[in-house]
Symmetry: C2
Subunit: 152 residues, 2 copies
């Protein structure tokens, strides 16, 4: 009960000032030449008031990042921590519930990748964040992956 209250608070915080997304990055050290990079991030302007670090201490996941543009972030990128966090907060999310569900689906599918086609299918799921997050332009999407994997 008390725990639910806390995770519901965190859900509100993430809905207001957080982000759930997966990036595809070119990285030839990975089997399919692309890295799948999932993140859950909490943001806050670094205005001298100890805000986000206090939340960070309480959730105890990921790491704190002080950006050059006066923003602080809690960045959670390891799959286990993301799974744990989303298992706690997804049911309380109002604005980013779909992103959380898509993230969990992708994390599951990632573990089942056995073929190029499996990898492409995951890349296609990642494309769906584009519609949900209304976010930055993606330079690497499933089309890029598909094109590349046809050639190798």
């Amino acid at each position: 009960m008390v725990k639910s209250i806390f995770w519901s608070y965190i859900a509100g915080f993430l809905d207001a000032d957080g982000s759930i997304y997966v990036q595809l990055k070119r990285n030839s050290t990975y089997k399919y030449d692309f890295q799948i990079s999932p993140s859950v991030v909490f943001y806050q302007k670094d205005n001298g008031v100890k805000g986000l670090p206090e939340i960070y201490e309480k959730i105890d996941l990921g790491h704190l990042r002080y950006r050059n543009d006066k923003m602080i972030e809690i960045v959670i990128s390891d799959r286990k921590s993301i799974r744990f966090l989303l298992s706690k907060i997804t049911k309380f999310l109002i604005l980013k519930k779909k992103q959380a569900e898509l993230m969990l689906l992708i994390l599951n599918k990632m573990e089942e990748i056995k073929t190029k086609q499996d990898f492409i299918s995951v890349a296609e799921l990642i494309d769906e964040f584009r519609n949900l997050n209304y976010s930055r332009k993606r330079t690497v999407d499933s089309q890029v992956v598909k094109h590349h994997l046809k050639e190798i």
Copy 2:
């Protein structure tokens, strides 16, 4: 229990992207020539995704404001609504708990104002938001009020 979960979510949302403050405004239609104007505001960038309006429908307090700079706000400024909201969320706030407590104190003191000195005391309490919110420069503070009330 379910209600607590909701208000805890709202506390997280407000801690991440909201503000609790009281302004002093010159207004000669008021008895002491200044208006005490309390606000609780939720902010969000208007990125085309229906975000804050959805929260607004759920909390059902205040009004929605679409700003020219592509921000949406839920603005709650009537005292009764502020009292109601803060009675629900103060215990769940982590970052803005002091602001909530100061707001409730000021709302109580406002109702007991009988003399100029009472009014000045409230203005002094309002000054304390300056330290808590690390916010915009205040042009009207208790010094301005004090100076003015000595003259009338």
